[in-house]
């Protein structure tokens, strides 16, 4: 097997040095009742070529464009990934390296992550960002636990318009803690009913997503004012990071912590993972942040360099008193996002975000002309909810047969929105494809 370089001579020589008769002898000290007899019952090894065929067949049994027209977002977005990004990510010095605990050997990763932290902080309008987390949902859960640590209060309010999976992950993380989660309901506009916060009582944090799960653009500023008036922090969450190329970013609107997902920034959807958890906060909360942080410093010769820092927050030092149990981050995904943003630039990201917005507006209009109803009046970015007289589900099923995935039926997630679908448009949706969808919906 080509990954196992030992020849019989190698093995014999090495067994001689360790004074063992054979390879099994290496395990002689293990109690007999701990050892298994017989082989692992797994399929026999494939050659590289058999593996290629096998995986081609599996990958072939998946619906992707252009065979399918897929207008689906809901936390995972289709954006163009430049060849530059894929090419640079193939550099094995980035891919096959370890966490930079020995910084002298890993300045590539460290500078790359420092640049990512800076770009992430600027995108979100925040003062400091971590070097990434698993995904937006885990980042949100960590952000809320962080808010509880900071304020020492044990209740958190979550908007009902936050991605349902994100809210599930938060509930899972909170389950053993005894902290309370309350839900802020929706308005008919598709936005969160922030006025309800007045009667919410003492809170550690208010969590609000914008654009929200329905694509509607929420008012972070109003949420921040209400949260702060009650001594709570505003935790701004997001699933579509590209939106902040156009929309007002959370930091500029008073968010204390921003926690969401950057998968849109050059990372393929890959059936849901890996993604890119982004977490950023005000500088005053820096030492409460969970996860890895890269800092700038100097070496003994006075040269600029980068290191992992503030490690005393982390599990390998503080163990049970750590800010979290996190060990790994999604480092390569963070680097991907930095490369993507570096390619796009400040000018490029505005144009791309505007194009995304305008394409979604085009489809909204085309579908309205085709007889659909847009129930939510709030302005949206990339995603929007549609329904139709008699509900959208029958149209959805018919469209699937025509190889068009018309969004995400919302009934399973929001019983009050049965018969509605959440559609997504990015720069990958051409006008012809959108016209085709509208045509099929009408007929």
């Amino acid at each position: 097997m080509r990954y196992l370089p030992h020849t019989d001579e190698d093995i014999a020589a090495m067994l001689g040095v360790v004074r063992c008769a054979d390879l099994d002898g290496l395990f002689a000290a293990l109690p007999a009742d701990c050892r298994v007899n017989g082989e692992l019952r797994l399929p026999a090894a494939l050659t590289e070529w058999e593996l290629d065929d096998h995986m081609d067949r599996l990958a072939g049994a998946m619906a992707v464009s252009p065979e399918y027209l897929i207008f689906l977002g809901a936390g995972s977005y289709d954006h163009r990934i430049p060849a530059v990004v894929s090419s640079l990510l193939a550099r094995s010095e980035f891919v096959t390296s370890y966490t930079p605990y020995q910084p002298e050997l890993l300045q590539g990763t460290l500078q790359g992550l420092y640049e990512y932290q800076t770009l992430a902080a600027r995108l979100l309008g925040m003062e400091v960002a971590t070097a990434s987390h698993y995904d937006g949902a885990a980042a949100l859960a960590e952000a809320l636990l962080m808010a509880v640590r900071i304020t020492k209060k044990k209740r958190v309010a979550l908007s009902r318009a936050i991605n349902p999976h994100y809210r599930q992950v938060v509930r899972t993380y909170f389950a053993p803690t005894g902290y309370e989660l309350i839900e802020i309901p929706l308005l008919a506009t598709g936005l969160t009913d922030l006025a309800r916060l007045e009667s919410a009582g003492e809170l550690a944090a208010v969590a609000l997503q914008s654009p929200n799960f329905f694509g509607c653009i929420e008012d972070f500023r109003e949420a921040a004012e209400r949260a702060h008036a009650g001594g709570a922090l505003l935790v701004a969450t997001f699933t579509e990071a590209l939106a902040y190329g156009l929309l007002k970013n959370p930091g500029s609107q008073g968010a204390d912590i921003a926690a969401g997902d950057g998968q849109s920034l050059g990372i393929p959807r890959s059936f849901g993972g890996p993604a890119l958890g982004m977490l950023a906060s005000r500088k005053q909360y820096m030492r409460n942040l969970p996860g890895r942080l890269v800092g700038q410093t100097k070496d003994r010769a006075g040269k600029r360099g980068f290191v992992l820092t503030l490690a005393t927050r982390e599990q390998h030092i503080r163990r049970e008193k750590a800010t979290s149990n996190i060990c790994s981050n999604n480092s390569l995904c963070a680097l991907t996002a930095a490369m993507y943003l570096a390619s796009l630039g400040g000018t490029g990201i505005r144009e791309l975000a505007a194009l995304n917005h305008d394409k979604a507006e085009y489809l909204k209009k085309a579908l309205t002309d085709a007889g659909c109803v847009i129930p939510f009046s709030a302005p949206t970015f990339n995603e929007f909810v549609v329904t139709a007289p008699g509900g959208f589900d029958a149209r959805y099923r018919r469209l699937i047969e025509k190889k068009i995935v018309a969004g995400l039926p919302l009934g399973p997630y929001y019983p009050e929105l049965a018969g509605h679908s959440l559609l997504c448009v990015t720069e990958t949706a051409s006008r012809e494809n959108m016209d085709a969808l509208a045509r099929e919906v009408k007929s």
Partner: protein, 134 residues
Amino acid sequence: MKKIEEIHLPDELRYSPDHEWVRMESTVARVGLTDYAQDQLGDIVYAELPSVGIRVEQGAVFATVESVKSVSECIMPLAGEITAVNAFLADDPAILNRSPYGEGWMVLVKPDDPAAGERLLTAERYRAQLKGEG
């Protein structure tokens, strides 16, 4: 790291087995880390101090001190109320290394029992303890 004989231990102070020093100043006790503690910790990068006004029992953790690679808990040598904390430590935690008995004081405590300080170790007894440990 210093040898035990090199550790500076002013005679007029009292010492706890957990490596804090105490100076009785009329009605309050001034508390800090000993030269041994700062030497063991290495470069101190951050100190987290309690809030003014809280009560701390003897033997409880009243502060944490961090070096790059470790965190140490500071154990209160005598029970009482915290009446002041050293605000300079926030911007310049290195004071704890440079001047552990002077500018590097950590908290002022109003002790429940004003005589509690006397019952702590003298410099001689503390040094003997360090030798036993070392």
